[in-house]
């Protein structure tokens, strides 16, 4: 598949936005400005970007506790996201969700999720609703290697398979479930092999190659839209940071870490764009500068936003109140 200049530049912009947002979040967390936990997506940007580039505004995603990248790739606004990280009233969730639970149902974002694997049956249900209503929309379920060991994985995959639901399960195999390396938490090399157990296609792709991810996701999305049911795409990637900010990640093998940092998906895409003559270094630097300004504006927006008022603790518990 030959991707257009516009496609590749859009990928670049999204990936740089995620990276910039995350680097800023790391900096703010270290400075003590963000409450709670923050789980960063640095290094995995090609997955969300390549997958979501196949989706429309009507499609749905379920995300994970490492969700900032998915949200940005699905169209989430960085200012509202940043305000939520600060716990401000202007945030996506009015300060009630925080980093791990950002959502925008209008954009099809059914939430980052603090429970590993919880998005899998929810995605199946959203896909069921799309099929039931005949809306033509589909759902993408992002989850990690650790989540593929949960019962939710099996139950959602099985239900989606027998009901031929329009859902694409995207496993971001970043090789770590908190401190447990994939080698220690499962006895197989490729998580995509698990698709065979449900009678659905399973493919493994280089998760640091946005084009490879885009192409694999295009297949899965096409299959889902045409009524043929779910598929499983495993994107092999690497979590650059600790599980959460503040985790020194001493359990990681430094050699492996070093090797993976060489496979940074952003310079790889930049090189491709330059080789194809779609942009110059200066053009790409201009994109990066614009993104930097956008993220800086998001921080300014968050910092100047009001806190929720204490009475808000009681609102939004029940609909219709």
């Amino acid at each position: 598949m030959q991707l257009s200049k516009e496609n590749l530049l859009a990928f670049y912009q999204t990936m740089v936005t995620v990276r910039t947002f995350e680097n800023k979040a790391a900096e703010l967390f270290a400075a003590g400005k963000l409450p709670g936990f923050v789980h960063l997506y640095i290094g995995e940007e090609a997955v969300a970007t390549g997958v979501c580039a196949n989706l429309t505004a009507q499609d749905y995603i379920t995300s994970t506790h490492r969700g900032h990248g998915h949200l940005i790739a699905k169209g989430g606004k960085v200012d509202l996201m940043m305000a939520e990280l600060y716990g401000k009233a202007t945030g996506y969730c009015k300060g009630k969700g925080g980093s791990m639970h950002i959502a925008d149902v209008d954009l099809g974002i059914l939430g980052a999720n603090g429970i590993v694997g919880a998005g899998q049956p929810i995605a199946a249900g959203a896909a069921f609703a799309c099929k039931y209503k005949g809306s033509g929309a589909i759902t993408v379920c992002f989850f990690g290697d650790g989540a593929s060991n949960r019962g939710t994985f099996h139950e959602a995959m099985n239900l989606a398979s027998i009901w031929k639901l329009p859902v694409v399960f995207v496993c971001e195999n970043n090789m770590y479930g908190i401190s447990n390396c994939q080698r220690d938490h499962m006895n197989i090399c490729d998580i995509a092999d698990r698709a065979a157990a449900y009678g659905i296609p399973g493919v493994t792709v280089d998760g640091n190659d946005v084009v490879a991810v885009f192409e694999a996701a295009a297949e899965g999305v096409k299959r889902a839209r045409s009524g043929d049911g779910p598929s499983l795409i495993e994107c092999k990637t690497w979590r650059w940071r600790g599980h959460f900010e503040g985790d020194p990640a001493t359990y990681k093998n430094p050699e492996e870490q070093k090797a993976w940092l060489q496979k940074d998906p952003i310079p790889r895409l930049a090189q491709k764009i330059i080789d194809l003559g779609y942009a110059t270094d200066a053009d790409l630097a201009q994109i990066a500068d614009a993104v930097k300004a956008q993220v800086a504006a998001a921080v300014a927006f968050a910092e100047s936003s009001p806190d929720p008022v204490p009475a808000d603790v009681l609102t939004d518990v029940y609909a219709g109140q």
Binding site: C93, G97, V105, G111, A118, A126, F128, Y132, V317, A319
Partner: protein, 322 residues
């Protein structure tokens, strides 16, 4: 009005709502061809093709998928065959369904009904007989419904389906065959409105689900001895009609709470606390609780009889107040 059993009334409630609203669907283990483990949903699969879905044995996916479907616009009625099996899908219920709205800052609604059945008396032992409503009442964002009569069963099912929040609707095995007059067509009983099942003036007995009937039998016997018991059925534990309980106490000044669930941390404790906080001056005697003891539900009918609250235990508790 039409005579219906409790089971038929539940089915009628679901049927009317499915006819009314194409977004309502029913799913669960054996709810379709088999008609439900207790026949409650019999025939609906033929009436509503594509909207009554037999699932695999997959409680996590039943409730998890219902959460996803509800969040994007459907109104699932998702059955968990026995309340004892809800442990398998508790994450989907208490971490997902009920928190989505709050954690999303009010920008989601999850109108799902978790339909299930509770209760003992059929020698089904400890994994098919429990009354676990207190678990669910402890979850903010969830509503808990426990109908005791056919008419209530229908009207509360309609309200549960129409509600924009997650609702657990708990049937009782002992009541399925109970017959009564049920309004035909659309019939909705608002959640949070108690029903005085029997008026009285000397003592208030608060009971729900099957225990309403045991309380009524006890009240009947007590009347013969000159004690007039008022039986209040809250019908929904969340929202709880505190006003109805306090109003009754303003008349009777004595309170007995009856539930089939085990004693410790049972919902009776919550009602007692509400009364202690808001109606202490109304009380002329200590509050009594008649409950199952803190054990798993036993198998042997002899042991189960000893386990369950009954008319005799209720009468004894009431008499201790006089």
């Amino acid at each position: 009005m039409k005579k219906m059993t409790y089971a038929e009334a539940i089915r009628d409630g679901i049927r009317v709502e499915m006819k009314r609203d194409a977004d309502v669907y029913l799913c669960g283990e054996d709810v379709g061809k088999f008609g439900g483990c207790f026949g409650v949903t019999a025939g609906l699969v033929d009436e509503f093709p594509g909207r009554v879905l037999d699932t695999p044995i997959t409680e996590t996916a039943i409730i998890g998928s219902a959460v996803g479907a509800a969040a994007v616009g459907l109104r699932p009625v998702a059955e968990i065959m026995f309340i004892d099996f809800t442990g398998v899908c508790m994450d989907e219920l208490f971490n997902q369904a009920v928190k989505m709205r709050y954690m999303f800052g009010g920008k989601a609604k999850v109108p799902l009904v978790l339909k299930t059945i509770c209760g003992g008396g059929v020698a089904a032992a400890a994994q098919h007989s429990q009354c676990m409503e207190a678990w669910f009442t402890h979850i903010p964002g969830l509503k808990t419904v426990m109908p005791a009569t056919p008419a209530d069963a229908k009207g509360l099912m309609a309200a549960a389906i129409r509600d924009d929040n997650p609702v657990i609707y708990i049937e009782h095995k002992q009541l399925l065959g109970l017959s009564g007059d049920v309004p035909e067509g659309e019939y909705v009983i608002p959640l949070g409105k108690a029903d005085i099942k029997r008026p009285g003036s000397d003592v208030t007995i608060v009971a729900w689900s099957w225990m309403v009937h045991r309380a009524l039998a006890a009240a009947e016997a007590l009347a013969k001895e000159g004690i007039s018991a008022e039986v209040i059925d809250p019908r929904t534990l969340v929202p709880l009609d505190k006003d109805a309980i306090l109003a009754s106490l303003a008349k009777t000044h004595k309170l007995v709470i009856v539930h089939e669930a085990v004693r410790t941390s049972g919902f009776g404790g919550e009602i007692a606390a509400v009364v202690a906080e808001q109606g202490f001056d109304l009380l002329d005697a200590p509050i009594k609780r008649v409950t199952a003891p803190d054990t798993p539900v036993p198998f042997s009918p002899v042991l189960e009889k000893a386990f369950l609250p009954d008319e005799g235990k209720i009468i004894q508790a009431v008499k201790e107040l006089f």
